[in-house]
């Protein structure tokens, strides 16, 4: 960085830098700016402004060139992201295209990404459940990974804090393994979902079918209106971006909130290449950015740096931040950086039919998607030959079926004829996977991305535990469906690559012991105390709950800690 005058350095100096503007980075931005800190948010992708940059949000099906179907050349050019269910003509512009951001698959791994302001928070399915001590104590009890340095009581107030602002709908179900939160009214279960819920409650001890908890404003509070958001209108077109701000996204909530404070600078098209370590001061001085358009390198400085680039990119940045002090990546004294990556296993499904409740159907659309079955295996004691467990989605639906038989007037008549189908029920598994040293990411020695940054090599796979768990899901659900009187039960498993669940985690794990972990209980690098990692990279283990709510709570808590450390002059 030659020839830069003092003023320029001053212009590039902030109190805090946040890397990434997605689900977790948005929270870091909001919290820092709420506390009055001059904050720079660096985002590698383009800026996406709430409503203004949702080009498809109000399109009717016939207004899409292919009425929703993606052209074959787009599908063929994107075999990885094309496997994601939400990659359609309405939302493709919010997904990373395969060729634009290359990585190396040492083993098959579907890395699904959204590089723009808001990251993947625009695209998510909005399922939000808290973790419990069964999850935080899991590793210590079951002997995998390392002990979490925190417990439920440490994070519970922060769950409440983010839930109130984000807006989470749900029922207070009183289930110890799935703690209740600060809920807006739940989206109700329909006739068959309720029937199954009651059946399961009667038939099984400690199994529950509840309304899915989700980040939708079923009935907004003042704090949501203050964000410019409005009640969810049950469109279920959320992945296009919601003009009502009906669901939580960084774009509709945390980022505009941070910008409104006047303390936030959002810099899109800024690919963070590495974090700069100041050997003399023994801490990080700032970050080096490659401007995505000009390819120019620029440095920014701050007292504290939050890494929120989404799990694997946060690994990449730390691995690429080398210095004399940290030749193997920033803070990597333990040698664990990039290791113990884990994910969720979504590779089993079950479908069936139900002959009852014929007098009921549904009207409108359910943004929550239906029901949720919290983990019921190995909760209170180890009862199977695999570790941990799985949660399950559950939903029941009927539809207006027409027939496309015939031609001419017959066909026209058939197409408007609406026979209501019987009830169909479906479920998918959401399994916890075990973090292992052999599941890792590293930097490729020679391949670079278009910005001159080493490509990430991903080597992550399933193991026996996953196979056994998958088998158990199929057996248990088949049994539960059978006993509920569901018919034509069809269970299926697939061989999808890891990653497609879009819940990749780990690599920069938390732990009490700096010899076996990267982060302390405040999400701070043990060895570089002004750098925090609060996204999925920090996860010591994965539980089976959807993870994003936990990233949000972690982030808010960590900012609170960072600011109090700064005030004490410790940073």
């Amino acid at each position: 960085m030659a020839n830069l005058n003092i003023d320029s350095v001053k212009d590039r100096t902030f109190d805090a830098i946040v890397i990434g503007s997605g689900m977790s980075g948005g929270w870091a931005a909001k919290e820092f700016t709420d506390k009055g800190l001059k904050t720079l948010v660096l985002e590698r992708g383009r800026d996406v402004k709430h409503i203004k940059d949702y080009p498809t949000t109000n399109l009717y099906p016939w207004e899409f060139p292919h009425h929703g179907v993606l052209p074959d050349d787009v599908q063929k050019a994107n075999p990885i992201v094309n496997r994601c269910y939400a990659f359609g003509e309405d939302a493709a512009h919010f997904f990373v295209k395969d060729a634009e951001h290359p990585y190396v698959q040492e083993k098959p791994f579907d890395w699904i990404r959204g590089y723009q302001t808001g990251g993947k928070s625009l695209l998510w399915a909005r399922q939000t459940q808290r973790w419990s001590d069964f999850d935080f104590e899991g590793p210590a009890r079951d002997g995998f990974a390392v002990d979490w340095p925190i417990r439920y009581k440490d994070i519970a107030p922060w769950y409440s804090y983010v839930e109130k602002f984000a807006g989470i709908s749900g029922n207070r179900d009183g289930i110890p393994e799935l703690p209740d939160g600060e809920f807006l009214p739940a989206f109700p279960l329909n006739a068959v979902e309720t029937y199954f819920s009651n059946h399961v409650k009667k038939t099984y001890k400690n199994r529950h079918v509840i309304s899915a908890r989700c980040a939708h404003l079923s009935k907004p509070n003042q704090i949501h209106l203050d964000q410019g958001r409005a009640q969810c209108q049950e469109r279920t077109l959320c992945q296009r971006g919601c003009p009502f701000g009906g669901y939580f996204s960084a774009n509709s909530s945390t980022i505009p909130w941070a910008l409104k404070s006047g303390h936030c600078t959002l810099r899109p098209h800024s690919v963070v290449e590495s974090i700069i370590y100041d050997e003399k001061k023994g801490k990080a001085a700032g970050v080096r950015v490659i401007d995505a358009n000009t390819k120019e390198a620029i440095e920014y400085y701050a007292d504290v740096i939050f890494v929120n680039a989404a799990a694997l990119n946060s690994n990449l940045i730390l691995l690429n931040s080398t210095s004399n002090r940290f030749p193997n990546g920033l803070g990597n004294d333990s040698g664990t950086l990039g290791k113990y990556v884990a994910f969720h296993n979504y590779s089993a499904h079950i479908n069936a039919e139900y002959d009852g409740a014929k007098e009921w159907t549904t009207d409108g659309r359910n943004p929550a998607g239906g029901g949720y079955i919290p983990r019921f295996r190995n909760v209170y004691k180890q009862e199977t030959d695999f570790l941990r467990g799985y949660a399950c989605g559950f939903s029941a639906y009927r539809w207006q079926q027409n027939s496309s038989e015939g031609i001419g007037q017959t066909l026209k008549d058939n197409l408007v004829k609406k026979d209501l189908s019987g009830w169909h029920v479906g479920s998918h598994m959401m399994g916890e996977t075990i973090p292992k040293e052999t599941n890792y990411v590293t930097l490729d020695k020679s391949l670079k991305d278009p910005w001159g940054i080493p490509q990430l090599r991903i080597s992550v796979d399933y193991d026996d535990n996953d196979e056994k768990m998958k088998k158990d899901y199929v057996e248990q659900m088949t049994e539960m469906f059978t006993s509920a009187g569901f018919t034509n039960i069809q269970a299926s498993t697939d061989h999808r690559a890891p990653g497609l669940d879009i819940h990749e985690m780990g690599g920069v794990r938390m732990g009490n012991d700096p010899k076996t972990s990267m982060l302390d209980k405040w999400h701070r690098l043990h060895a570089c105390k002004n750098v925090y990692v609060t996204d999925g990279a920090s996860m010591t283990s994965t539980s089976c709950q959807n993870p994003s709510l936990t990233y949000m709570a972690f982030t808010a808590r960590a900012v609170d800690h960072a600011v109090s450390e700064m005030k004490k002059g410790n940073v």
Partner: protein
């Protein structure tokens, strides 16, 4: 109360968004040259006319609009051209030619010159075979027919006409009734 205010905010927000028009190739002329701009499919004017008349035979103008009125023939071309892979496009062309040969054999003239009655009779015959899993004769012809029919039906059931006049599609339902009596459904 909340609900109303929220809707108002939302509608104001929505007004900020620009609409977007359907992107479809402009109309066909009938001068003998192919008129649709296709990227992959190579169709001559006769083939183009055949497919157009086929869509109209599948969904003819009756008391309600037909395929041509709704531009469904253009939609079919666009879909086959953009959303099918090379292999299926090749099958489409081969099946199209088989279709024309079969028409000529049976009626002594091209499909587009046949009377509406003959066209309908011919297509009804194929329609029957196309649903018969054991029917193996001229698989390409049937495959071609299925592609055209599938996209005609898809285009029709997702057309503005169908989704506003035949059924009512709601972009914004504004409700989720988890328990809705089937009786009420029948009453609408």
């Amino acid at each position: 109360m909340d609900n109303k205010i929220n809707r108002r905010i939302a509608i104001r927000n929505m007004a900020l968004i620009l609409g977007s028009a359907a992107i479809l190739p402009s109309c066909l002329n009938d001068k003998g040259k192919p008129t649709v701009q296709l990227k992959h499919l190579k169709l001559n004017a006769d083939q183009e006319t055949l497919v157009t008349e086929l869509t109209e035979t599948i969904l003819p103008k009756t008391a309600t609009p037909g395929a041509k009125d709704l531009g469904l023939h253009l939609f079919v071309f666009k879909m086959i051209d953009d959303c099918y892979d090379k292999e299926h496009q090749d099958d489409f062309i081969a099946g199209l030619d088989d279709f024309e040969s079969a028409v000529k054999k049976q009626h002594g003239q091209p499909f587009s010159k046949c009377s509406v009655k003959d066209r309908t009779a011919f297509v009804s015959g194929i329609e029957q075979h196309s649903n018969d899993k054991n029917y193996k004769d001229n698989a390409k012809l049937t495959a071609f027919y299925r592609m055209v029919k599938e996209q005609t039906v898809f285009g029709y059931t997702t057309s503005k006409y169908f989704m506003t006049k035949q059924i009512v599609y709601e972009l914004v339902p504004g409700r989720y009734n988890a328990y809705y009596p089937v009786k009420k459904l029948a009453a609408v």
